[in-house]
């Protein structure tokens, strides 16, 4: 788990640039990416995880839920039935750890991206409305956020999931709703400064509707900082999902997840069945690391003034 509300980055917004400028920026981004070893590593890890999440079922050697009590708790590299090998060992029910790991990538990424989509959308709309209209709407929205931030996030998630019950949709909603205030605060701050800019004034003078001003004039100018937050947030959400699955509040047991694999490994630590704990943990660490690295790189690229000293 990571602190989901503190990786906040604000960059000064500028009007939507022309296409040629954007193309130049894309080229600059690509050059910056290939010259930064860390960012390249992060991107590479992310590509591998995404590939695994999409094509995992096709490359998994076993059915991840197929139990074989004769093949339980096998060490990594143990031969299975026929030509098959348990490359990363098997668990307490004789299921292949590698296959479950490959399927687990799907859940982690899906939860991470979907929760950010939910939280990002809610927070962006709330932030736009709050910053543009101000007054009591702003007060109510921001105080709601303060209340939410008063909870250690994982406790809030536990409280809701215990009542709602575990499930993919529930966990996405709870983790997503947990993120909205991070986006709302950034978008609000940006909107407050942008609403006074000449081009927003111009749009208003031209008779554009409020909806158009918010979503076509202001929103495109605050996408950059949002992508930075989203990158850090995906990392945080993946950690939270793993923690909640570990506590038995994630997706149902029939769906393999990295967190639930770790939870199952607890009962076999004393008998030193290390592979049940090591591999799912490494999968989480590398995925989260990749998102954190890319978040750092994006932040430095989009606003070099924010670059951490050094």
């Amino acid at each position: 788990m990571t602190d989901l509300h503190t990786n906040v980055v604000e960059t000064e917004a500028v009007p939507v640039p022309p296409v040629s400028y954007r193309r130049r920026e894309m080229r600059r981004a690509f050059q910056s990416l290939v010259t930064s070893r860390w960012a390249l590593l992060g991107m590479l890890i992310l590509l591998v995880v995404t590939f695994v999440a999409i094509f995992g079922p096709a490359v998994a050697p076993f059915d991840p839920n197929r139990q074989n009590i004769m093949m339980r708790l096998l060490e990594p590299g143990s031969p299975g039935v026929g030509d098959l090998t348990y490359w990363l060992g098997s668990d307490q029910l004789g299921r292949d750890v590698l296959s479950r790991l490959l399927y687990g990538a799907r859940v982690s990424l899906l939860v991470g991206v979907a929760a950010i989509a939910v939280g990002g959308t809610l927070g962006t709309v709330a932030g736009l409305v709050s910053g543009y209209f101000g007054g009591w709407i702003d007060d109510v929205i921001m105080r709601l956020g303060d209340i939410q931030l008063a909870f250690p996030f994982i406790l809030l998630a536990i409280m809701f999931l215990v009542v709602l019950g575990p499930g993919l949709v529930n966990i996405i909603l709870v983790l997503g709703i947990g993120q909205w205030i991070t986006y709302a605060r950034i978008v609000r701050a940006q909107t407050l400064s942008l609403r006074e800019k000449e081009y927003v004034e111009a749009a208003r003078a031209m008779g554009d509707s409020t909806f158009s001003i918010l979503f076509r004039t202001i929103l495109p100018n605050i996408v950059a900082p949002l992508t930075v937050i989203a990158s850090f947030n995906v990392a945080g959400v993946i950690l939270s999902e793993a923690a909640l699955s570990f506590l038995g509040l994630g997706v149902p047991p029939s769906v393999p997840t990295w967190g639930s694999m770790l939870s199952e490994s607890r009962d076999h630590l004393l008998s030193n069945k290390w592979w049940m704990a090591v591999f799912p943990g490494l999968a989480i660490v590398f995925t989260v690391l990749a998102f954190n690295i890319i978040g750092d790189w994006l932040r430095d690229f989009l606003d070099p003034r924010l670059k951490e000293n050094g």
């Binding site: 008063a150 250690p152 809701f160 630590l269 704990a277 954190n292």
Partner: protein
């Protein structure tokens, strides 16, 4: 000062009311909450009796007011598995959790300060790169996995530290048995080393990065250059001139991190079978013991709010520019 204090107190009360509201709403979200408090085999009559006894047949605003009133009195109903008041059960587990959270905070802050300063003073050298790489890694490791790895390596393989158990310190201290408490202290800390490090890894990593960048910023300031030009020793410049201002963002982070640590403790305690609120919540989740989960969450949120208030006051004291 008093205006600030009263304003912050009022804010905290509003937030606490919000916490109870969220907690109340969470109870209602799954439909009729009565089903959360009765056994799965309960008959229709039993469910109806429970509904009336728990007051779930009343209008929602009345239910909420009664919920707040009871919460104010620490009454969250009886634990379904312990058959005694839920808050009592939670309070019994509380000292162990506070010990662990504070110890992990102390370890994390105590280690991150020298690491951050050392990295800043060696900016651009391999040792700086090494510390920052480890810090980045530390921010990506789930605390419960860190706990599992520590059990495997330091507990089972090397046998340096115990992998479960707890020696109470606060409990005898609160009971007035000071000699027992302080006799227990070394053992208590020894048992907490692994769980505290697991809980605190993220905070340690994050603060090391924060302190490094905060120090670098301060070290580049004119007044530090002036201090150096006056011939003051480097140690004094760092400790006396730079640290004072580099502290500010760290103090703010400590406030935020404490809540995060409390959340982390919930998960890590289950890994180490540590007898605190975390393990209690974990067991309560498995037994669907809602009163215990609610009492734990509200109590932890209350502590978090109180600590944030204290941090704000310390911050105002450290930086006179903060308007009181």
């Amino acid at each position: 000062m008093w205006t600030f204090l009263i304003r912050r107190l009022l804010q905290s009360i509003i937030v606490l009311i919000g916490v109870t509201l969220i907690s109340f709403i969470s109870l209602q979200m799954g439909g009729d909450p009565t089903y959360l408090f009765v056994s799965e085999n309960a008959s229709v009559e039993e469910i109806q009796r429970a509904r009336e006894a728990l007051g779930f047949d009343r209008p929602l605003p009345v239910q909420y007011l009664s919920y707040v009133w009871n919460a104010l009195h620490g009454d969250f109903g009886n634990s379904l598995s312990y058959r005694q008041p839920a808050m009592g059960v939670v309070l019994e587990a509380m000292p162990a959790t506070i010990e662990l959270t504070f110890f992990s905070l102390v370890l994390a802050i105590g280690l991150s300060i020298p690491l951050g300063i050392f990295a800043a003073l060696n900016r651009g050298r391999p040792v700086d790169g090494g510390i920052m790489t480890l810090a980045m890694l530390g921010q990506s490791i789930p605390n419960f996995w860190m706990g599992i790895m520590m059990i495997l390596y330091f507990g089972l393989y090397l046998g340096w530290f115990p992998i479960s158990g707890h020696v109470p310190f606060l409990e005898p201290l609160f009971a007035g048995e000071f000699s027992t408490a302080f006799r227990n202290l070394p053992q208590s800390m020894y048992y907490m080393v692994l769980p505290a490090l697991a809980v605190g890894t993220y905070t340690l990593a994050r603060n090391a990065r924060l302190i490094r960048s905060s120090m670098l910023e301060v070290l580049g300031q004119d007044y530090v250059r002036t201090a150096r030009s006056k011939g003051i020793s480097e140690t004094r410049v760092v400790m006396h001139h730079a640290m004072r201002n580099a502290w500010l963002p760290v103090v703010t982070m400590i406030g935020l991190e404490f809540g995060f640590l409390l959340g982390g403790v919930v998960v890590v305690e289950t890994v180490f079978s540590y007898p605190g609120i975390g393990r209690l919540v974990f067991n309560a989740i498995n037994q669907r013991d809602i009163p215990v989960v609610q009492a734990s969450v509200i109590l932890l949120a209350g502590i978090f709010i109180l600590l944030n208030l204290i941090v704000d006051l310390i911050y105002a004291r450290l930086d006179p520019r903060v308007k009181l």
